[in-house]
């Protein structure tokens, strides 16, 4: 098992994926800060909390567009080597358990998305200090909600991971991931949000600020159940699949 983890990490070593998951959210926070400073009076004129404003400005486009897009990229990338050079055949002809390979790859992929969220939190904390936010740090907003967004995004990760492993063409997880991400903004405003997992991160990230997205704990319950079901299906399907 240790060998598989080491090999999987080695494959990602030169993929620049760490740069992608670190720089992308940092850039979104930078953009949020610039926007906040530009319209400083508008955003803080009525005594609003600067940390909260920083969170909203950084998070709004991140959670609606970039986050689901980055999940698609990460999930595509973890399966890239096996998909691109008929690597599955070689990999699985070795004395390794199919299920173990599948689970380890998924843990690494999910971990990369977690690094992405951690970077977002750290970038917001640094940005807040740099712009001189005087109020006490709202831990729940700045740390709790991004972590909740991560949990809410588990079904998207699971679905795209299953697709990335199943299809060698990168356009399948990318096309589906992006294609379903943008309508989420509209679906999130309807009663059908529950059957559309791409709305979950929006609910988790913006629920506190926007009443329409506040759905309580149902988001997380649905998220955990759905992601577990999809991953179980993925492992079963991968174990049964013929590698040709």
């Amino acid at each position: 098992m240790k060998d598989i983890i080491a090999v999987e990490l080695l494959k990602l070593k030169n993929s620049k994926i760490l740069w992608i998951v670190i720089l992308a959210p940092a850039f979104m926070v930078l953009q949020g800060v610039i926007n906040l400073m530009r319209y400083y009076d508008l955003f803080t004129g009525q005594g609003q909390n600067l940390w909260e404003q920083l969170y909203t400005q950084s998070m709004i486009f991140y959670v609606m567009i970039l986050f689901p897009a980055l999940i698609s990229v990460v999930m595509t990338l973890v399966a890239r080597i096996e998909n691109s050079h008929r690597g599955w055949k070689q990999y699985l002809s070795l004395p390794v358990k199919k299920g173990t390979v599948y689970v380890i790859k998924s843990v690494i992929a999910f971990g990369l998305v977690f690094i992405n969220i951690l970077t977002l939190i750290i970038a917001m904390l640094i940005a807040g200090i740099l712009i001189g936010a005087q109020e006490s740090l709202p831990y729940l907003s700045l740390i709790g909600r991004p972590l909740a967004t991560y949990i809410a995004a588990l079904p998207i990760m699971a679905i795209l991971y299953v697709l990335s492993i199943r299809y060698s063409q990168m356009t399948v997880p990318l096309g589906i991931g992006i294609g379903l991400a943008l309508p989420a903004m509209l679906v999130a405003n309807t009663k059908y949000w529950l059957i559309y997992p791409w709305t979950y991160p929006i609910m988790a990230a913006l629920g506190e600020n926007m009443e329409i997205f506040n759905k309580g704990h149902l988001v997380f319950l649905a998220s955990i159940i759905l992601s577990a079901a999809v991953l179980m299906y993925g492992v079963r399907n991968f174990n049964k699949r013929d590698i040709v």
Binding site: A24, Q31, A69, N83, T171, L174, G175, G179
Partner: protein, 247 residues
């Protein structure tokens, strides 16, 4: 010219069984469907808003549609561009292609043209679907073909800049995901860039936002800067591709 045509034909042959076709076909369809549902449910409410009172039904349709399409089109254009180039990396065929007695300029142009044609197909399909959506919704005005044609032309010119920069990145970065990530970050930030017209002029990811034919929107950014940046990045891409190392 025949060499370029053969290369272009080859590019489309490579895409024959790829998932790119469902993406090109369904993206504009799904987008138009969402616009249709939006207006079907909220037409009276939207028409009643003060901001929309001077808009014709067709203008309202485009305004509502552009909110999603201005992000969806560039994101999908980014995926298409990466996919067209990724095929070469995936099968390690840059080496085989570039050692053949074919002009590198034509190889690059064929890839650029493939991406451009696929994007035009998406834009035109979308325009047709929007016309159909408006007809089904039973707008009181006659179909505004002129408005939708202008909108299509603006989009085609606006997306040229993004295609140029993404082709340049995808052809020169071995890792297709890196080009994708840069594109996605660019698109996700596009609305932020678009808040400043001066800044947006120089950011190809933001040009498409200015493609909506509306008196309050500066369409020259989509028209002139889209095309100009498209040509500049095409030239830069060609230049770099000429000296691309193959292993």
């Amino acid at each position: 010219m025949p060499e370029y045509c053969r290369l272009l034909k080859g590019e489309f042959l490579k895409q024959k069984k790829s998932f790119i076709w469902p993406v090109v076909i369904f993206t504009p369809l799904v987008d138009a469907l969402l616009t249709f549902v939006n207006l079907f449910l909220r037409y009276d409410y939207l028409k009643g808003l003060e901001a929309n009172q001077d808009l014709s039904s067709w203008q309202l349709l485009l305004t509502q549609h552009h909110f999603i399409w201005a992000f969806l089109l560039p994101l999908v254009a980014t995926i298409i561009t990466s996919h067209v180039h990724y095929l070469e990396y995936k099968s390690n065929s840059w080496k085989q292609t570039l050692v053949l007695p074919v002009s590198r300029i034509k190889v690059y142009l064929a890839k650029w043209s493939t991406v451009f044609i696929l994007n035009i197909l998406m834009i035109l399909q979308n325009s047709i679907y929007l016309l159909i959506a408006g007809k089904i919704l039973g707008f009181p005005e006659i179909p505004d073909i002129h408005l939708i044609t202008i909108y299509s032309v603006y989009q085609i010119l606006a997306i040229t800049g993004l295609i140029g920069i993404q082709c340049f990145l995808s052809a020169n970065l071995y890792n297709a995901n890196l080009a994708l990530a840069i594109g996605f970050v660019g698109v996700a930030s596009s609305l932020f860039f678009a808040q400043s017209e001066q800044l947006a002029k120089f950011i190809p990811y933001a040009h498409i936002i200015f493609a909506l034919p509306d008196p309050t929107i500066n369409n020259t950014i989509a028209l002139y800067y889209g095309l100009t940046f498209g040509l500049i990045f095409l030239a830069v891409g060609l230049l770099f591709f000429q000296s691309k190392e193959i292993y």
